[in-house]
């Protein structure tokens, strides 16, 4: 809640530029759009510095809608009830608004302008609505009016680590938990005052939070790294335990040397056990079973990136599907996965109903106690899939599925109303699914208002859909989407077997402008050429030229993390020292990584990193934009952290391992700001 310290924001997305200028001018965060259309009134509820100082408490306690079914897990959709009216609050990331939708009448009641792009909503015990603003590094606190048809009013905004993406409350409502994706942190807020109690570091790309029934542990999904974090909420130090979400595939057979190589490259990763392991990825969401209790579901995919000792014909070695949908089941009491949920039998494909499109991009989930079902929204196939929540392996126990409009990123269950409410961000439509309806019944669709000039219009909108298109044979033969390896436009933290040898997936968001050529060997002068090459590598039929242009439009404007850099104090001094070290003749970092914002020289170099399966020893200088959040490093992912790279490299690529501890730390701190 404290006023922001002097900061320098970094973030180069054209979509965030306007907002950044506003911040840098010293003004309060001002809503960046006008009222929504479609007959609803959008009124600003913008967090301002003045309101922050007034505190986050309710001004009119006891009035307005309250949360439904004691839901304590955030989502892009959250339900609230006022009398006999049930409303859905919907987080619209494109328009930076909160929609209020009356589920009874199927009518959008009002929109509330937010201070930034919302990722999740949580309705607190007293009816306050907390919204994580991922591009503002804040949680905005809103208060409902007595009349649900009025916009919510702003109470305050709370500073949290970079890119808040998920919210949850503890069972006693004593704390609100916030995960920050790029900031790799869990922030604990007091449940009443919302003052910051603690912040603890996490592994890369944390997302959804669920808290155990006894409040002793928070389980946190991670988009990459084959893990779920189990955070001890009782011990003051809040130790974090890694729950290994890698899978076992009985159908993968590799020789001992290859297995050893894979294990070596995966050293330090929780799943690095051998060649039959598949790595968990795309774990954006978690859901907790209510009946039976004690089960936490982790929809994800299990990835086999192929034999890194061999040159493959594509991305992965093609003998088995590179990515298989998975729903890990975690025993809440033991904080361990149930092995049956992460096991793939050797020839199971022969015994499953033919895939109608696997859920390779799960994004949101919720459970229904009465039906003992798990509902998962799937980008790419634009579907909601219902699974048996009692199964030891829900992945193979699909019960129903519904097609919904493009981009389903949120789902909430109204147990009393027997319906699932799904938000499709790309099409900006709410779908209401009758849980007890006929199996073939279609969802009721409610198109919400949208701004005249949305953040995602025209070609960018088309490009976003194509980027996430799974089970589209124009993109790939095996169902993979662009977003499969580049979740949220970033990277999967994996190294893949390719025809050019092992290749570490690069982050795309914010890294494609002025950084040509593209590809680890610098084989493509344009993004478009490289995209076409990638589709071919995936054995996709290919897109039309206009569609490729649309994908290029999207990938070159994707939302980037908006980090802030202190301009005064010890950390600022450390960063300043790191800049000097970076640009020094001693380290020679800036010789190839030009400090012009591109951090490239457009050249290829032999830096002595050729791996056994590499036919080429010349590698394109990669950009260092966002380098602090994209581990592992090098084309084959050989270094698991920046420090490993700076200390472990042999000197053919700059000279850093001789640096003093202070300079080493400073250099690393500086690189994390790029």
């Amino acid at each position: 809640m404290s006023p922001m310290s002097p900061t320098r924001f970094t973030g180069i997305s054209s979509r965030t530029g306007i907002a950044l200028l506003v911040v840098l001018s010293g003004s309060a965060l001002v809503g960046c759009g006008k009222a929504g259309t479609g007959g609803t009134a959008a009124k600003p509820a913008v967090p301002t510095q003045a309101r922050v100082s007034q505190g986050c408490a309710r001004q009119n306690p006891g009035v307005g809608a309250v949360r439904v079914d004691d839901a304590r897990v955030g989502g892009a959709v959250a339900l609230a009830r006022l009398g006999d009216r049930t409303v859905a609050y919907v987080a619209d990331e494109d328009d930076s608004v909160l929609h209020t939708v009356d589920l009874g009448s199927g009518r959008e009641l009002v929109t509330t302008q937010l201070g930034g792009a919302p990722s999740q909503i949580l309705v607190a015990k007293d009816g306050r609505v907390l919204v994580a603003l991922r591009d503002k590094n804040q949680v905005q606190v809103l208060e409902p009016a007595a009349n649900v048809e009025l916009p919510l009013s702003n109470r305050c905004a709370i500073d949290v680590a970079t890119e808040p993406v998920a919210l949850a409350a503890t069972p006693d409502d004593g704390a609100v938990l916030v995960t920050s994706g790029w900031g790799r942190a869990l922030t604990g807020l007091d449940g009443d005052t919302l003052s910051k109690k603690y912040q603890i570091p996490l592994a890369r790309e944390p997302r959804q939070i669920v808290v155990s029934d006894d409040g002793s542990k928070a389980f946190i999904a991670h988009v990459v790294g084959s893990r779920v974090s189990a955070v001890d909420l009782v011990t003051p130090e809040h130790p974090v335990r890694t729950v290994d979400m890698s899978g076992q595939d009985d159908g993968i057979f590799r020789n001992r040397r290859s297995a050893a190589k894979v294990a070596s490259l995966l050293k330090g990763a929780p799943g690095g056990k051998g060649s039959q392991q598949r790595m968990g990825c795309q774990s954006f969401t978690l859901a907790k079973s209510i009946d039976p209790p004690g089960r936490i579901f982790a929809p994800q995919v299990l990835v086999d990136p192929g034999d890194l000792e061999q040159q493959s014909s594509g991305y992965g070695d093609g003998r088995r599907p590179a990515e298989v949908a998975s729903i890990g089941v975690i025993d809440e009491g033991k904080a361990e996965p149930m092995p049956a949920s992460l096991h793939i039998a050797a020839n199971e494909a022969q015994h499953r109903g033919a895939a109608k499109g696997e859920c390779l991009l799960p994004r949101a989930s919720a459970t229904d106690a009465k039906g003992k079902s798990l509902y998962v929204t799937c980008l790419g196939i634009d579907a909601v899939v219902e699974y048996d929540a009692v199964s030891a392996d829900p992945r193979v126990a699909e019960k129903r599925r519904w097609n919904v409009p493009a981009g389903p990123t949120g789902v909430a269950i109204d147990a009393q109303g027997r319906r699932a409410v799904v938000w499709s961000q790309f099409d900006q439509v709410v779908s209401v699914i009758a849980l007890d309806g006929e199996p073939t019944a279609k969802p009721t669709l409610l198109a919400l208002s949208r701004k005249a000039r949305s953040a995602t219009d025209g070609d960018i909108a088309l490009g976003r859909k194509l980027f996430h298109a799974a089970s589209d044979d124009r993109i790939s033969a095996d169902g993979r989407a662009c977003a499969s390896c580049h979740p949220d436009g970033r990277d999967d933290s994996l190294t893949w077997a390719t025809p050019e040898g092992p290749r570490n997936t690069p982050m795309l968001a914010g890294r494609l402008t002025q950084t040509a050529p593209y590809g680890w060997n610098g084989e493509s002068d344009e993004v478009k050429t490289h995209l076409t090459h990638t589709f071919s590598r995936l054995q996709g039929r290919g897109l039309e030229a206009r569609e490729v242009d649309a994908v290029v439009s999207f990938v070159t404007t994707m939302r980037t993390p908006v980090t802030y850099v202190p301009e005064a104090g010890p950390e600022a001094n450390k960063i300043a020292r790191g800049k000097v070290v970076f640009e020094s003749a001693e380290t020679q970092c800036a010789t190839c990584h030009h400090a012009d914002g591109s951090w490239v020289d457009g050249e290829k170099h032999d830096v002595g990193t050729r791996a056994a399966a590499d036919p080429n020893n010349q590698f394109d200088t990669p950009t260092l934009r966002f380098v602090g959040g994209t581990a592992p490093y090098f084309h084959d992912g050989r270094y698991r952290s920046l420090r490993d790279l700076l200390v472990g490299h042999d000197g053919k690529m700059g000279a850093t391992k001789q640096l003093s501890p202070v300079d080493m730390e400073s250099l690393e701190a500086y690189m994390r700001t790029l």
């Binding site: 009985d250 039976p292 209790p293 004690g294 089960r295 089941v329 025993d331 809440e332 009491g333 033991k334 149930m338 092995p339 049956a340 096991h343 039998a345 050797a346 020839n347 199971e348 022969q350 015994h351 499953r352 109903g353 033919a354 109608k356 039906g371 003992k372 079902s373 219902e386 699974y387 048996d388 009692v390 199964s391 030891a392 392996d393 193979v396 126990a397 699909e398 019960k399 129903r400 599925r401 199996p439 073939t440």
Partner: protein, 318 residues
């Protein structure tokens, strides 16, 4: 399969349907609710020969290639037609509510695996096990019987009394009937209490459990368990077995369910709806699991139709 076993032939039919999911069901009883059953031991001491007689539920037919075909009198119609040819079909009856399997069609289910391995010295007399699924409004049973079948004389003799296994319906009432029973046997010995390390909990002797799913009125089924074991059924009854290891196990697959479907088009008063047989693929997924908070293992099953019905038809009540 031995040369002798090949003398008995049971035809298989497995037609994979068009994949269109249309419906759903699930249920989750405790595993303890699934009845425990002991399967009868397979018969031993085969007679040298069995004279031909008439009083048997089995029909034994010599076939053109010197083998014999053994068919239960209650076996389903379409299968008989394939096995016996059109002219033979009339000789056999099909009783509503009864599904039957003969011989090794279910041999991949562990409980029945040894069925055909007991025979007399010259391998002309073999033990043949039959399973008959009786589905009644108030429940269902599996009747297991063993016979000696003489390939030379085509004679059939009862080898042991019929054992009735109680079944519990585990699928939802509105969906295709699937039943289950469980079996158990002693697991590997566990360390005695005096060999346990200090502070180490002493496990009570466990039993290896398995759950056998039973679905009638089908034309073949195809399953795989989490243990990697594959199972196929090629008769009126599909069996699938979940091997429960460390408190968990799964099985998944599909059966081709034989249904009667009824036309829904408007018709003249007093005109009965037209019906026709229809084969529909049903995906089945079942599992046993237990978390640290479950007092006992939970059994779960979900089903999903993979084929749509023809337009303007509905299923008759299952």
């Amino acid at each position: 399969m031995s040369a002798a076993a090949r003398r008995f032939a049971i035809a298989a039919s497995l037609t994979l349907g068009v994949v269109v999911q249309t419906t759903v069901a699930s249920a989750a009883p405790s595993l303890a609710d699934v009845p425990l059953a002991s399967l009868p031991p397979v018969p031993t001491s085969a007679p040298k020969s069995v004279p031909k007689g008439n009083d048997s539920p089995l029909r034994v037919f010599p076939s053109a290639n010197g083998t014999v075909i053994v068919v239960h009198k209650d076996a389903g119609g379409s299968q008989q037609a394939q096995q016996l040819g059109g002219n033979e079909r009339a000789k056999l009856s099909t009783t509503p509510g009864i599904s039957a399997c003969v011989g090794w069609s279910q041999q991949s289910v562990a409980a029945f695996r040894q069925t055909l391995l007991y025979m007399n010295k010259d391998q002309s007399v073999m033990a043949v096990r039959t399973e008959v699924l009786e589905e009644r409004p108030d429940g269902a049973s599996l009747l297991v019987s063993d016979f000696w079948v003489d390939a030379k004389t085509t004679g059939v003799a009862v080898a042991s009394p019929t054992v009735t296994i109680p079944l519990r319906r585990v699928s939802a009432p509105s969906d295709a009937a699937i039943y289950a029973f469980r079996t158990e046997k002693a697991a590997s010995p566990v360390p005695a209490a005096d060999t346990a390390k200090p502070g180490e909990a002493v496990k009570s002797p466990d039993k290896e459990q398995s759950v056998v799913l039973v679905a009638g009125s089908v034309q073949g089924g195809n399953f795989q368990g989490s243990s990697g074991r594959t199972m196929s059924s090629q008769c009126d009854i599909a069996f699938a077995e979940i091997d429960v290891k460390d408190g968990a196990g799964t099985v998944q697959g599909q059966v081709n369910k034989m249904l009667v479907i009824e036309e829904t088009r408007p018709r003249a008063p007093d005109t009965p709806p037209s019906t026709m047989p229809f084969q529909r693929s049903l995906q089945i997924s079942a599992s046993v699991s237990q978390t640290s908070r479950d007092p006992s293992p939970l059994f779960s099953i979900s089903t999903r139709w993979l084929t749509d019905l023809p337009a303007q038809f509905k299923m008759q009540k299952l």
